[in-house]
C-alpha cells in the first residue's frame, strides 16, 4: 500500500517536473532564412545601359576589353563628395582604364546641383529609375566596383575613406589588369 502511494507520488512529481521544465523552456529563436552569397565578385558585371549627363547613351558593354571602375553615388551622400573628385584625379592619371560614376538620384536636377561645385571630370551615367543600382544589388552609398577586361567583377567596396580607399582601389585595378 505504502509502495503504491510512493509510486503514485513519484509519477506525479515527475509529471510536475516535466511541466515546470516545459513551461520554463525559452521560446526558440526565430529562424533566419538560409544564407546565400550576395557579392557580385567573381560574377559577370550586369549590363548598364543608360543616358549620360551630356545626353549621349552609355553601355558598359562598349567598354569590354578595358578595366572599368563603376561608382554609384547620390547627391545626399556625404562620402561621395570626397570620392568623386578623387576618382576624377585617378582617371586623369590612368588613361588605360575607364572610370564611370552612376548617379542614382530620383530627381534629374539633383546630380547637376551636386556636381556643380566639384571638380569631377568623369562620365556621369544617369540611373534615375535605379535599374542599374538594382542589378548590382547596392545597399549603401557610395559603392564601387572594379570590372576586369573580360567583364568580371573583381572588387566591390562600400563607403570611402580619404586615407585608404584610393590605394585599395588602385591595388584592385592592378589585380584586375
Amino acid at each position: 500500500m505504502a509502495s503504491i502511494r510512493v509510486r503514485h507520488g513519484a509519477v506525479i512529481a515527475a509529471c510536475l517536473a516535466v511541466a515546470v521544465v516545459a513551461s520554463a523552456q525559452p521560446r526558440r529563436a526565430p529562424e533566419m532564412i538560409p544564407e546565400r552569397p550576395t557579392s557580385l565578385v567573381g560574377r559577370t558585371a550586369p549590363e548598364i545601359a543608360a543616358p549620360l549627363l551630356d545626353g549621349a547613351q552609355f553601355t558598359l558593354a562598349s567598354l569590354r576589353g578595358r578595366v572599368v571602375v563603376i561608382s554609384f553615388f547620390a547627391s545626399w551622400c556625404t562620402p561621395c563628395r570626397a570620392e568623386l573628385p578623387a576618382l576624377s584625379e585617378l582617371a586623369q592619371r590612368r588613361r588605360d582604364i575607364s572610370i564611370v560614376a552612376v548617379n542614382v538620384d530620383r530627381e534629374p536636377a539633383a546630380a547637376r546641383a551636386f556636381l556643380g561645385p566639384l571638380d569631377v571630370r568623369l562620365p556621369i551615367v544617369l540611373d534615375h529609375a535605379a535599374v542599374a543600382l538594382g542589378r548590382y544589388g547596392v545597399v549603401s552609398m557610395p559603392t564601387l566596383f572594379v570590372v576586369d577586361r573580360r567583364g568580371t567583377v573583381k572588387y566591390e567596396k562600400s563607403g570611402f575613406n580619404r586615407e585608404t580607399s584610393l590605394a585599395e582601389i588602385e591595388r584592385a585595378i592592378a589585380e584586375a589588369r
Binding site: E31, T38, L133, R135
Partner: protein
C-alpha cells in the same frame, strides 16, 4: 559807445574721434539686432527645415549657445524679440553721433543717457543668461561690449549730464526713436508672418479643411481653472517637498476628488509618450473619482530652470502649444495627438495638431503662441518640478509617492485604488482590469491562418497578404506561414509577381492603413500617407516599441531576414504580420509612387514604424533588404 561784446564762456572741448568710432559701432549693433531678430524668429516660428542651422559667429560649447539664449522666455518683450528693439536704438545712437559731429552738442547727453541705459540692461541680460539659462550668447556679448562703449565714448566726446538738452531736442529724438521702432516691429511682424504662413503651413491647412478631417470629438477638458492644492511629496532625493497645483495647470476629473495624480512630462520625451498610453488608461478608468493634473517639464533650459542641458530642442515650443490648446479647452486631445506624432514638433506641425485636436480658433492659437504668457505658463510649471528636484521625465506623483516611466498602468492603478480606500488585495484585483494590452502573451499563429486579410477602414476596402510575399517557382507572389520572404525585388519585379498572382501592389495608403490599424489620411494631399499625422498606432502592435515583437533593430553582422510568421507578436490590429521590420516592402501603384515601407531587420527601433518610408531610390532599386506584399480590391 562801442557795442558790448557778449560774454564768452569757455565751451567744453568736444572731441570728434569718439563720435567717429561710435557710428560704425552703432551700425554694427544694428546689424547684430537684425541678425538676432531673424535667428529668433526662424528658431521659434520657422519650419523644421528653417531651424537648426547653427548661428554664424556663435559656435556652440558648454557655455555658449545662442539658440537657447535667443529663444528663451527672456528673448521677447511684449511679443517682440528684444533684438528687434536693438535696431532702432542703435540707429538712434548713430544719428545722435552724426548730429553731434554736425555741431549739435545737446546730442551728447542723450547719447550718454542711452548708453547708460543700454549698459545697465546688458548687465541684467548677462545676469539672466548666466543664472537662469546657464548659457551665454556670443552675439549678445558683442552687443554688451558695444553698449558699454556707448556711454564711455559719449563721455570722452564731452558729454555732460547737465545742462539737460532742450525739451524740443528730446522730443524730436523720441519721435525719431518711435518711428524707427514702428518700422522695425512692422518688418519683424512681416517676417514672422512669412514664416508662419509658409507654403507648407498654408497649403497643408487649407487642404486639410477640404480633406476628410477626423470628426472633432467633444472636448474632455473641464471648464475653469484647476483647483489649487498643495500636498507633501517625497522627492527623488528622499526629501520632503511641497507639490503645488496652480489654477493654470491642465487638469481633469472632479474638483473635490480625494485622490490626485500629477504628471510632470515633456512632449518630446519618448518615455513620456510611452507613459501617455498608460495615463490614458488611468484617465479612462478613474477620471470620475480622481483629479489628474499635467505639468510641463521640458528638458530644455530655455524654458525650464531645473535642467542644465538641452536634450529636447522642440520641447519648449511643444509645451507652449499645449498651453495654447488648453486655453481653448483642447489640452488632453492636443497632447494625445502630439505624443502620437512626436517625430515632428515644429511650429507649423504643432498648429496642424491643434487643428486636428479640435482647437476652435486657430487665430487665437497663433496669437497665444507668440504671447509671452504661454511661455511663462510652461516655465511656471517647470519651476514647480524643479522645486521638487525632478531629474527626468516622466514623473508621476500619486498621493505623495513617485512613479517613473517603468511603472505600468496596473502598478499605478493599484496605488490609486489603495488611495481610494481599498484593501491591498482588493486594489490588486481591481488594478488587474486595466493591465496593458502589451502585457498579454504573444499567441502562436494558427496553422490555418488565411493568406490574405480583408480590411475595411474609413473609405478604404481592400485585401492584403497576411505575410510578406514569397516567390513561387512560376514567379507568383504567395503568402503563407514559414515561407522565405522574397528579397532582391525591384518595384517592377514585385509588380509583376503580384500581377501573376492576380493581385497588385498595395498603395501607400492601403499599406499604412493596414499597419496602423486606422484609415490613413493624406493630410497634406501630396499623395503620400506615411508622412502625415499618425491616426492609428506607430507600430503594428501598439504605440511604442517592443523588441520581442518584430524582426527589427538587429544591426549586428550576420543577421538575415526570418521566415514569414516567425514573429507572432508582430501583428497588426487586422491580423497582418511583419509589416514593420524583416524586409522593406514595395508599395505604390505607379513608378512615380514606388516607395519602400516599414523598414528591414536592421532598421533601428525608432525608424521601423508604420510611417517609415524610403523613397530615396527609383523603382529599380533591389537588394537583400527589398521585398513586398500584394493587395487586391478597389
Amino acid at each position: 559807445m562801442t557795442k558790448k561784446e557778449p560774454a564768452k564762456f569757455a565751451e567744453p572741448v568736444m572731441r570728434q574721434w569718439p563720435l567717429y568710432l561710435l557710428i560704425p559701432l552703432a551700425l554694427f549693433g544694428t546689424f547684430v539686432g537684425v541678425l538676432m531678430t531673424s535667428h529668433h524668429e526662424r528658431e521659434t516660428y520657422g519650419t523644421e527645415a528653417q531651424q537648426g542651422a547653427e548661428l554664424i559667429g556663435c559656435t556652440e560649447s558648454a557655455t555658449v549657445n545662442c539658440d537657447i539664449v535667443n529663444t528663451s522666455a527672456y528673448s521677447e518683450l511684449l511679443g517682440v524679440p528684444i533684438a528687434t528693439f536693438a535696431v532702432p536704438t542703435y540707429l538712434l545712437v548713430a544719428l545722435l553721433a552724426l548730429a553731434a559731429l554736425r555741431g549739435r552738442r545737446d546730442a551728447l547727453p542723450m547719447l550718454l543717457g542711452i548708453g547708460v541705459g543700454a549698459a545697465l540692461y546688458s548687465v541684467f541680460l548677462f545676469y539672466i543668461s548666466s543664472t537662469q539659462l546657464h548659457y551665454l550668447c556670443a552675439w549678445c556679448l558683442r552687443l554688451y561690449a558695444v553698449n558699454a562703449a556707448i556711454p564711455v565714448l559719449a563721455a570722452i566726446a564731452g558729454a555732460r549730464p547737465r545742462p539737460l538738452p532742450s525739451l524740443r531736442s528730446v522730443g524730436f529724438a523720441l519721435g525719431v526713436a518711435a518711428a524707427l521702432t514702428v518700422v522695425a516691429v512692422i518688418a519683424q511682424r512681416s517676417y514672422r508672418s512669412s514664416l508662419l504662413g509658409t507654403e507648407a503651413t498654408v497649403t497643408a491647412l487649407a487642404r486639410r479643411e477640404a480633406a476628410s478631417v477626423p470628426t472633432v470629438r467633444d472636448t474632455i477638458d473641464p471648464d475653469g481653472p484647476a483647483p489649487a492644492r498643495e500636498f507633501q511629496v517625497t522627492t527623488e532625493a528622499g526629501a520632503q517637498a511641497t507639490l503645488v497645483i496652480r489654477p493654470q495647470d491642465a487638469w481633469l476629473g472632479p474638483r473635490d476628488a480625494a485622490v490626485t495624480v500629477v504628471e510632470f512630462a515633456d512632449l518630446q520625451c519618448g518615455y513620456c509618450k510611452r507613459t501617455s498610453a498608460q495615463m490614458d488608461r488611468l484617465i479612462d478608468a478613474y477620471a470620475d473619482r480622481v483629479l489628474f493634473v499635467f505639468k510641463h517639464y521640458p528638458m530644455d533650459p530655455a524654458c525650464n530652470p531645473g535642467v542644465q542641458n538641452r536634450r529636447h530642442a522642440r520641447a519648449c515650443v511643444a509645451g507652449r502649444a499645449a498651453v495654447c490648446a488648453q486655453r481653448q479647452r483642447r489640452f488632453w486631445e492636443f497632447t494625445r495627438v502630439a505624443f502620437k506624432n512626436q517625430h515632428a514638433l515644429d511650429v507649423d506641425t504643432l498648429r496642424a495638431y491643434a487643428e486636428h485636436a479640435g482647437v476652435p480658433d486657430l487665430s487665437a492659437f497663433d496669437a497665444c503662441m507668440s504671447d509671452p504668457s504661454s511661455a511663462e505658463a510652461v516655465r511656471r510649471a517647470a519651476s514647480d518640478g524643479a522645486a521638487l528636484g525632478i531629474r527626468g521625465t516622466p514623473r508621476i506623483f500619486i498621493e505623495g509617492a513617485i512613479y517613473r516611466s517603468g511603472s505600468s498602468a496596473e502598478q499605478m492603478a493599484r496605488a490609486i485604488e489603495v488611495a481610494l480606500g481599498r484593501s491591498a488585495e482588493e486594489a490588486t484585483a481591481a488594478a488587474r482590469s486595466i493591465r496593458e494590452a502589451s502585457d498579454a502573451p504573444i499567441a502562436e499563429i494558427a496553422a490555418d491562418v488565411p493568406p490574405t486579410r480583408h480590411i475595411a477602414r474609413g473609405d478604404l476596402t481592400f485585401s492584403i497578404q497576411t505575410f510578406e510575399a514569397a516567390m513561387s517557382a512560376s514567379g507568383q507572389a504567395e503568402s503563407g506561414k514559414h515561407r522565405i520572404p522574397a528579397t532582391d525585388m525591384s518595384w517592377y519585379a514585385a509588380r509583376d509577381a503580384c500581377s501573376a498572382a492576380g493581385m497588385r501592389l498595395c498603395t501607400e495608403r492601403e499599406w499604412v492603413t493596414a499597419c496602423q490599424g486606422a484609415a490613413a489620411v493624406d493630410d497634406d494631399h501630396d499623395g503620400e500617407s506615411a508622412d502625415d499625422l499618425v491616426e492609428g498606432t506607430s507600430y503594428p502592435y501598439g504605440d511604442y516599441h517592443d523588441a520581442t515583437r518584430c524582426w527589427d533593430g538587429r544591426e549586428q553582422d550576420g543577421v538575415r531576414p526570418v521566415y514569414t510568421g516567425e514573429m507572432p507578436g508582430c501583428v497588426s490590429a487586422d491580423g497582418v504580420f511583419d509589416l514593420t521590420g524583416n524586409v522593406e516592402e514595395w508599395a505604390g501603384a505607379t513608378e512615380a509612387e514606388a516607395v519602400l515601407l516599414g523598414g528591414a531587420w536592421d532598421t533601428s527601433e525608432d525608424h521601423a514604424r508604420c510611417y517609415r518610408r524610403n523613397a530615396s531610390f527609383g523603382p529599380g532599386y533591389a537588394n537583400r533588404r527589398t521585398g513586398f506584399r500584394c493587395c487586391s480590391g478597389e
